[in-house]
């Protein structure tokens, strides 16, 4: 190709000329650019003579990013969002459960009987796959349909960059990039999305820190577990009037703990495996924009709620089948599930959890959304309860929160179990989708393994500590 020698020539000339024009060239270029931009802008824009007396944007910014009020306002807003979600989701959840579980499920069973299905086929299809899906829809749809639009409205209003601004100082003290606040915020919706969002971070070191710690942002697959356990065990410990608020605060507490863990683990990583200085960046605080409410409702429903729900549904169907199978296939007189639960009970006890919860976490690696249904089903099985639910391996919607509490109490649950389940729900391995995304983004087996195992080990350590402490202090 004739271009090759010419290319070498050009590069040589450029090299020589570069030495001639000297180091000031870059500044020169940028300056010329800025001067032009300033001149053109100046000619085109007419400003009002008097500056506006009161700038609302700036007034709001002073408040929400102030050193004193920034954090309290953040916690207040989050609590408000969860309170709305918890209070608002109750009634539609019950209605969906009545429809899908009390009406459609028996109808399907009748249909199976009418068509002459063998017991195992109708078991796998209706008691396994269908019930798991119905459970996920009735538990997840209402909170998501409230949480996502409200959160999206906050986002559209322009609050998220202020959160990043508030957190930036803490992140840089932890040796991490301030933009990690943005990917963390995305993680509150979905960790896989949060991991993809770390692309805004340029430094590979800081990006890895952001990827590994993203799991500590509670994702929507875990909100329902936290909300339910907190409603049943923590909300019910206080007067009814306060129950909603206290449950919301407990959920916020776990979320805030997740943020603190993000800082702690980032700090640890930036001083051990991923040493280095935090890089500087500029973050523009965009103007506040009145959100377009109807459009936001539509997009957050289509983009987030339906997509996330669909994922949960597709994950729950095979999981439901697995649950039904392991509870109905017997080895030596006991079902596989019972073998697993008994085998893990010892470890579970040490961690202040139980075998049922650990088995549920293994079954739910593809989707954390199905933890609660799995736990309930396995508890009924392990505790040998009769007259509740629908028998072996059938996931069911308990009539009310009191019934769920009764079942769990019969399974030997205490407040410690509930608290540790909430902790473990925050601190354990990411779901399989997130693990896959981490691998796609890092292309490294090593860092994928670190991102998977580090939170799991940390979760074991934390629950072991709280369990041992609670027992030593005689609380349990």
């Amino acid at each position: 190709m004739s271009a090759q020698p010419a290319a070498a020539d050009i590069l040589k000339t450029a090299g020589n000329l570069r030495r001639e024009v000297g180091d000031g060239f870059h500044d020169h270029l940028v300056e010329a650019l800025y001067t032009d931009a300033a001149q053109i802008a100046d000619r085109a824009v007419a400003r009002p003579d008097a500056p506006p007396r009161f700038d609302l944007d700036r007034a709001i910014d002073r408040l929400v990013t102030s050193r004193t009020w920034g954090f309290p306002i953040m916690v207040l807003l989050l609590t408000g969002v969860f309170w709305l979600t918890i209070q608002g989701a109750n009634v539609p959840s019950q209605m969906l459960a009545t429809l899908l579980l009390d009406t459609v499920h028996p109808a399907l069973k009748d249909l199976g009987a009418a068509l002459g299905f063998p017991w195992w086929l109708s078991g796998v299809l209706f008691d396994g796959a269908y019930l798991a899906m119905a459970w996920v829809v009735s538990v997840m749809l209402p909170p998501m349909a409230i949480f996502f639009p409200v959160f999206t409205l906050l986002e559209d209003f322009g609050y998220l960059p202020r959160v990043a601004f508030n957190l930036d100082r803490l992140f840089s003290r932890a040796g991490a990039h301030g933009k990690q606040a943005l990917s963390m915020t995305m993680g509150f919706g979905c960790n896989a999305a949060g991991v993809v969002a770390t692309r805004v971070i340029d430094s590979p070191r800081e990006r890895l820190i952001a990827i590994i710690t993203n799991n500590f942002a509670v994702c929507n697959g875990r909100w329902p577990t936290l909300i339910m356990v907190s409603t049943i065990f923590i909300g019910s410990a206080v007067p009814a009037a306060l129950a909603g608020l206290v449950s919301a605060l407990a959920v916020v507490g776990i979320a805030v703990l997740g943020v603190l863990l993000t800082f702690a683990v980032s700090w640890f990583l930036s001083r051990t495996m991923l040493k280095g200085e935090a890089s500087v960046f500029s973050l523009e605080l965009p103007p506040y924009r009145p959100p377009r409410i109807l459009q936001t409702l539509y997009t957050s429903l289509i983009d987030r709620t339906i997509i996330v729900l669909w994922r949960a549904v597709t994950m729950s169907v095979p999981a439901g089948i697995v649950i039904w199978l392991i509870s109905n296939v017997t080895l030596g007189g006991q079902s596989i599930a019972e073998h697993l639960v008994t085998g893990l009970d010892g470890v579970g006890w040490l961690l202040g959890l139980n075998g049922v919860i650990l088995v549920a976490y293994i079954v739910a690696i593809p989707a954390n959304e199905i933890i609660i249904p799995t736990v309930l089903m396995l508890t009924v099985l392990a505790a040998g309860l009769t007259g509740v639910g629908e028998g072996a391996g059938v996931m069911f919607e308990a009539e009310s929160n009191t019934t769920i509490r009764d079942i769990l109490n019969a399974g030997g649950w205490t407040t410690l179990t509930a608290v540790n389940l909430m902790l473990f729900s925050l601190i354990h391995n990411p779901c399989s989708t997130t693990i896959l995304t981490i691998y796609n983004e890092t292309k490294s087996k090593k860092w994928t393994a670190v991102a998977t195992l580090l939170p799991l080990l940390l979760g074991f350590a934390v629950t072991l500590t709280t369990a041992t402490l609670a027992r030593a202090l005689g609380l349990v």
Binding site: Q4, L11, L29, D36, D42, A44, A46, P161, A164, P286
Partner: protein, 279 residues
């Protein structure tokens, strides 16, 4: 066929570009006649403009850096199919970071038929820094002066005709959130793509420093000789004098040569593919 083409007696309304057939294609764009790139500073409403043009409802967020990779969509206008590529928002194209690199490589090597620079009317000066850099690389650009409602709210009046004259490219005022000005923007994109409108963009003027001007001229001449047909030899010369390693690489591996012959350099297409979203 458009309405315009099929009518024998054309009334004023039938020939008005506003009445050309417009169809939003979402992500469905198999073959296209023109590629349109969407560039701009972060948080200027680029994704909102993207959605307004394609009919897609890609989530838009009021925070910078939301679009971390390219998003693509399409629309039909007149009888032409347009593929629209939403580039990551950047403050400059000096390729200091991955998103700047993606944006610049696409405008330089992807050779879009039109580049729409979305500009925040309330922060015109800073936004023009990027716009001027885009105009250094490509002639075929349209400025979308967005967020005009906010500018009004802040009491700013912007003379868009003056701006268009100074920049040498068409300027369309929009409020993308409400769809205002989008028809006009599409019509202008069409005119620039088809060559009905030929912008002659403003270029950063020569400096007072004669030695420097001579250096730029000499290098530009050499580049033009080696790569005839390259639309932005002067910009390449400036980048080389600034010690831009990527441009040096593009010269060495021949992708700049491909560009001057009108081929899309494969290596760059591959590199751009890396940026596609997986999740």
């Amino acid at each position: 066929m458009t309405v315009t083409d099929s009518l024998p007696h054309q009334s004023a309304c039938a020939t008005c570009p506003m009445n050309r057939h417009l169809e939003r294609l979402g992500v469905n764009m198999e073959d296209w006649d023109y590629v349109v790139a969407l560039a701009g500073n972060p948080n200027t409403g680029k994704s909102t403009v993207f959605n307004a043009l394609t009919g897609l409802r890609q989530h838009t967020g009021n925070w910078p850096g939301k679009t971390v990779a390219r998003a693509e969509g399409g629309f039909i206008y007149g009888d032409k199919r347009y593929k629209l590529v939403d580039l990551p928002g950047t403050y400059s194209l000096l390729a200091a970071s991955v998103d700047e690199e993606i944006a610049r490589d696409f405008i330089l090597f992807g050779q879009p038929d039109v580049t729409v620079v979305v500009v925040d009317a309330t922060r015109l000066e800073r936004n023009l820094n990027l716009a001027l850099q885009v105009l250094e690389i490509t002639d075929k650009a349209v400025i979308c002066l967005n967020l005009m409602d906010e500018a009004k709210r802040h009491g700013l009046t912007i003379d868009d005709r003056r701006l268009a004259r100074d920049l040498g490219v068409p300027v369309i005022s929009t409020v993308a959130r409400r769809g205002e000005g989008i028809r006009e923007l599409i019509a202008m994109v069409h005119d620039v793509a088809t060559g009905e409108v030929k912008p002659r963009p403003h270029r950063i003027p020569a400096t007072q420093d004669d030695a420097l001007n001579r250096a730029v001229e000499r290098l530009t001449g050499q580049i033009q000789a080696a790569f005839p047909g390259l639309p932005n030899a002067r910009w390449v010369a400036l980048r080389l004098l600034d010690g831009d390693a990527q441009i040096e690489r593009a010269i060495r591996d021949g992708s700049l040569g491909d560009l001057s012959r009108g081929d899309e350099p494969q290596s760059v297409v591959d590199r751009l593919m890396v940026a596609e979203v997986h999740a």
